[in-house]
């Protein structure tokens, strides 16, 4: 079902493509855009037409290879392309018009940029002669997106178009992946010239990402690992981006090293492996954060020491040496001093470290460390309350685990409490099956991302976990799913409030719930679902939860289940922002209701 590893590796570098069947024909710029997308192997794109892209949509009308998903808001197109990319590993593509069409994609582009997702955004632009005149629906989208794109192009000559699009795909998918924007003025779409599409990988002298880790550094890393007594592997989204999950498992098992996986790496290491520590940081398990704090060697692989993971700068793993492998040299040493920096593709680097450890016959870590971590695990287990009166959100996720155990499932999340409960309690069985906005924390991402993932895998079960706040940020995309026949399932964790902000207000703002309670404006989500022709239901009785979930999962088309959950439930444990991660302010063994105002423990 998923793209094979060989295919994915092949798509990342040394790539050459088949010549376009349109090679040598005289085509308009618009026709060239479509021919170029076909030549790049694009099969699905997400978009919304408008004045400056009518020509491109006209050319699309003749395409037999491209499947276009018509969204209801351009932000939905960007997030759907992002979800498609995260689910498949292939670049997501969206097409929108100039001005408001382009600016509506900005949040989607920023989301992809923060999480290093390969995307190509095609925006219409006013005719070249009108640029800079405040023309109708003109916006300087390359300027606006400068800080949130890996690169961008404004095409000013139709002869440049094939090269630009070819480079855009190359840059988006190589090195540290990211979104690339191509701005297409309407007169360029109309202009004609002979179409010549490059088949070789572009040669951009100023852009040569480093893939191969330095062999001396790899040996040095192996020596550090062999000498460490209490190592922890800290694995990030780079493991998934470089398809390094097998290598990661091999390293961990060979040396018996516990593995913590960030939100972006959820699914990169088997959740049920005895060495799995789950997510670190602000909402990580206490045993995970304690293992990191006690560690004498952090092996950071494809990750960036985000503030949500490391807590207060300078306090993270105080006594540990650090090995940091990442494809982006700028991440190394940015948030944490490093002892062994290795720049390159993390898959090859881990393989190199494993080979070196085998060659030197390094011994696995003593059981004492793993046993100690296990002791902490049983001392501070991840727990949650259970109730017969009201549905606990964690229970919803556990029941979803049980009911989908035998099905290939992709789960996306919105942002907030439900996202963190999912991060803590959802069983994610393989890479690319958990999709969530980590860096930017974009509410409104998860639902269109689910549409993107479903478009890539129409036969898979795709479930979006949402909050009642987040879902309303892009609920118009219900029409998209219905019209495109994409049977996404949405579970709304309805606590009638903005739960995560409310949680901060409870813990740090003396319970002053400023603008976070939705009580007086309750939305009828079932009626909303019906309005879009969806299957929709609601459940509030814990005894009926299983039936409701089964009904949702087994329904044919798109379906929504609104789950009324306990409003007061918190995401625990929690490390206060600006604290060290071993200073948990709120944990399960401290009932939040009896905590002194504004302070923990």
């Amino acid at each position: 079902m998923t793209t094979s590893k060989a295919q994915k590796a092949e798509s990342r570098k040394g790539r050459s493509i088949a010549p376009s069947p349109k090679e040598g024909q005289v085509l308009s710029g618009a026709q060239q855009v479509i021919a170029a997308l076909e030549a790049e192997g694009v099969t699905t794109l997400f978009g919304y037409p408008g004045g400056t892209v009518i020509d491109i949509y006209d050319a699309l009308y003749d395409s037999e290879k491209l499947h276009h998903v018509l969204v209801r808001h351009e932000q939905g197109a960007a997030h759907a392309a992002d979800g498609y990319a995260r689910a498949t590993g292939r670049p997501g593509v969206c097409l929108v018009t100039s001005g408001p069409g382009a600016t509506n994609t900005v949040t989607g582009i920023a989301t992809a940029y923060m999480d290093s997702v390969p995307m190509v955004i095609l925006t219409g632009q006013v005719a070249t002669a009108a640029i800079g005149t405040d023309a109708f629906q003109e916006s300087d989208i390359t300027g606006i997106t400068l800080p949130i794109t890996k690169h961008s192009y404004l095409v000013k000559d139709v002869h440049d178009l094939p090269r630009v699009i070819h480079e855009a795909f190359h840059i988006a998918t190589t090195g540290r992946p990211g979104p690339v924007l191509v701005d297409l003025p309407s007169d360029i779409s109309k202009a004609k010239c002979e179409f010549h599409y490059p088949v070789e990988e572009p040669n951009i002298p100023s852009y040569k990402p480093t893939y191969r880790g330095h062999s001396k550094q790899i040996k040095q890393a192996a020596r550090y690992i062999a000498a460490a007594r209490k190592p922890v592997i800290y694995a990030g989204g780079g493991i998934i981006a470089s398809n390094a999950e097998d290598e990661l498992l091999e390293l961990a098992e060979l040396m018996q090293i516990p593995v913590t996986t960030t939100l972006m790496a959820k699914g990169a290491f088997p959740y049920d492996n005895p060495l799995a520590l789950g997510m670190p940081g602000m909402h990580g398990a206490r045993y995970t954060n304690m293992a990191l704090s006690e560690s004498d060697l952090i092996i950071a692989l494809g990750t960036r020491f985000s503030d949500r993971v490391i807590g207060r700068k300078g306090t993270f793993a105080r006594n540990a040496k650090v090995i940091h492998a990442d494809i982006d040299p700028a991440e190394i040493g940015k948030n944490r001093a490093v002892d062994v920096p290795i720049v390159g593709d993390v898959r090859g680097i881990i393989a190199g470290i494993v080979a070196e450890l085998r060659r030197t016959e390094a011994k696995p870590k003593s059981l004492a460390w793993v046993d100690h971590v296990d002791e902490m695990r049983s001392q501070y287990p991840m727990r949650h309350p259970v109730s017969e009166a009201v549905i606990m959100p964690e229970v919803v996720i556990e029941r979803l685990n049980a009911l989908t155990a035998d099905r290939d499932t992709i789960v996306t999340t919105e942002v907030g409490q439900h996202q963190m409960w999912a991060a803590q309690f959802l069983d994610t069985r393989r890479p690319r099956s958990f999709i969530s906005s980590g860096g930017l924390g974009t509410m409104g991402f998860g639902f269109p991302a689910a549409i993107g993932a479903q478009a890539a895998y129409p036969d898979s079960l795709v479930v979006c976990l949402a909050g009642d706040g987040s879902f309303q940020m892009n609920s118009q995309e219900m029409a998209t799913a219905k019209a495109a026949g994409l049977p996404v399932k949405v579970i709304i964790f309805d606590n009638q409030c903005l739960g995560m902000v409310r949680q901060w207000q409870q813990l740090f703002y003396h319970g002053r719930y400023s603008q976070t309670l939705f009580d007086d404006s309750i939305v009828n989500f079932v009626a909303l679902g019906h309005a879009y022709g969806w299957h929709a239901a609601e459940v509030s009785d814990p005894a009926q939860l299983d039936e409701a979930l089964k009904d949702l999962i087994n329904s044919e088309g798109p379906a929504l289940l609104n789950v009324q959950i306990a409003q007061s439930e918190l995401v625990l444990p929690m490390v206060a922002p600006g604290s060290a991660i071993d200073e948990s302010v709120a944990a399960r063994n401290v009932a939040p209701t009896i905590m002194p105002e504004g302070k923990g423990e």
């Binding site: 390359t142 400068l146 800080p147 540290r176 951009i204 100023s206 040299p329 700028a330 040493g333 940015k334």
Partner: protein, 160 residues
């Protein structure tokens, strides 16, 4: 401290914006900036001076490297380099003090490029230190206006 970076870039529209906006959005101020094409007309060299600490300059350098249009960055602060700046000083000059000012300019190998009824304009080239010394001396006559090009730097021949 002040760091001098020499950034070799693609000579095309928007590249300067990419470079400068990256520096400002990471929270740093550019003290001086000079741009021009190089021996290869498809490339430009940006010489920029940033006041920050060693960790930050490393981060700025790495981030600049990631820009697709950037070929090469040389940190000239730590290298033996030739640095020049061109400054135009418009100085108050009543007729009886003109000679004095011209003598000062001569010592600095600066030239008088404009004579006004009550002012002189002096063109001076040199290192930042030399310009600072001249600036200091001319202040006693009263400076009407100053404009400077921003520092340009090249590493010395032995580094090729």
């Amino acid at each position: 401290m002040n760091w001098t970076l020499s950034v070799l870039v693609e000579n095309k529209p928007g590249v300067l914006t990419r470079v400068t906006s990256l520096i400002s959005r990471r929270g740093f101020n550019i003290e001086s900036l000079a741009v021009g094409t190089t021996e290869d007309p498809t490339r430009s060299r940006i010489t920029l001076v940033v006041d920050t600490d060693a960790d930050s300059i490393e981060q700025i350098t790495k981030q600049l490297h990631k820009l697709v249009d950037v070929y090469k960055i040389t940190n000239l602060t730590e290298e033996d380099s030739i640095d020049r700046e061109l400054v135009l000083f418009k100085v108050n000059a009543v007729p009886e003090r003109r000679h004095e000012i011209i003598e000062v300019a001569d010592v600095f190998r600066a030239s008088i490029v404009d004579f006004g009824r009550t002012s002189l304009t002096i063109e001076a080239t040199g290192t930042a230190e030399k310009m600072a010394a001249l600036d200091d001396l001319l202040r006693s006559y009263g400076i009407k206006e100053i404009v400077r090009t921003g520092k340009i730097s090249l590493s010395r021949g032995s580094h090729d």
